[in-house]
Symmetry: C2
Subunit: 196 residues, 2 copies
DNA sequence: AAAGATAGTAGCGACTCGATACCATCTATG
DNA sequence: CATAGATGGTATCGAGTCGCTACTATCTTT
């Protein structure tokens, strides 16, 4: 492949720039695609996607802001638009008066199912070999992990890979942080409190 | 790692969505970082970065638009802002009256050198092992290639990996498409006419 | 009970972005 | 060699993003 044509020394010198370039292009294509596919703004699509993969501790405006690297003010506006357009609804937290929980409406769920990730990405991923697929995902996760560590951000990992995750046998799970029991389906979602 | 904890079947089912999520987060972190680092808009940084890695056949507004997946109208505005702020200047093409060539000013070059790719990415990349670095880059390129093919976009590959690239010995190179001679330094830049 | 942290919103200004419309120049086709 | 179409670029408009500052409400700590 391309990389083999260039000397190892050259690779080392430019790889951060190369990776940045590749990411820029990847992001650009996906952003444009998401917009066309759904008729929504890229950020709006990302918010809907996040709400489809986060657990009940992470379905709040601040979590969205942390996940997407935006300020809560910005996210608040985007959520207003999405709420008014009927993709999302809000309900107050019963235990904490400051907190609002976000939920996808039927319309929101349908949009996520139909256009996120953009079909062109599904197609591109499908065209890779099985081993390339998992290698790619692993590369992405590893880079993301390094980036989050350097940036001391939250990891938003999958619940059942968390330090707080407790398996109590017979298909019963519990979160050691909140002490609450967890359903099996919940344990596959991402959590803002995730501890690696 | 994470992927090994999950059954192969599960991976196959969700990988496109997982990859989309990872890309979303990666993009978000880098966008935010680029903004902070340079004081510019993320897109503006991407434009400056592109102009620092493209060859003389690709330093035009349409090329920028194609690379970033934006319309030429949008790019035209962004370029106006960057030009007024002194990061870029424009000069007409001597052979084609429609075409404008873009160049980074000294100020533009300094900005690119100082903040792109964002230091946090350089750091993250550096924290990976050598083999992880090239594996990551290869994964990105492969996915990008699949994406571009599915989207029939331009590849923007590196000049000396192009079908049109001709080596005439004694360090002399030529582009078979334009018939023009190429300097060694030029052959390391990306080109909008790149043919894989 | 007071001070501070946290969750969320409101308004402002700069900028992005696609869409449409438009002009200038180059290139094919007859 | 004229003219139709393709291509490169700009201008204008409206919806939306986005950080910023300022603000309220609620929870937590001390």
């Amino acid at each position: 492949m391309l990389v083999n044509l260039i000397s190892t020394r050259y690779i080392l010198t430019v790889s951060a720039k190369d990776i940045y370039g590749a990411l820029t292009q990847l992001g650009a294509v996906l952003r444009a695609e998401a917009r066309i596919e759904s008729g929504l703004q890229p950020v709006q699509v990302q918010v809907l996607n996040y709400l489809s993969i986060c657990n009940r501790y992470s379905d709040t405006p601040v979590s969205v802001a942390d996940y997407l690297g935006l300020t809560k003010g910005t996210v608040s506006q985007t959520l207003r638009v999405l709420t008014e357009a009927g993709f999302v609804d809000k309900r107050p937290d019963p235990h904490d008066g400051r907190v609002v929980h976000l939920r996808l409406t039927a319309k929101g769920k349908a949009t996520v199912a139909g256009s996120v990730p953009p079909p062109v990405l599904r197609q591109a991923v499908a065209s890779l070999s099985e081993s390339d697929q998992s290698r790619t995902l692993e590369s992405f996760r590893r880079l993301l992990g390094a980036l989050q560590q350097a940036n001391d951000g939250l990891s938003f990992g999958i619940c059942h890979t968390c330090q707080h995750f407790l398996s109590e046998g017979r298909g019963r799970f519990r979160c050691g942080l909140t002490e609450e029991p967890l359903k099996a389906a919940e344990s596959k979602l991402i959590c803002r409190e995730h501890l690696t």
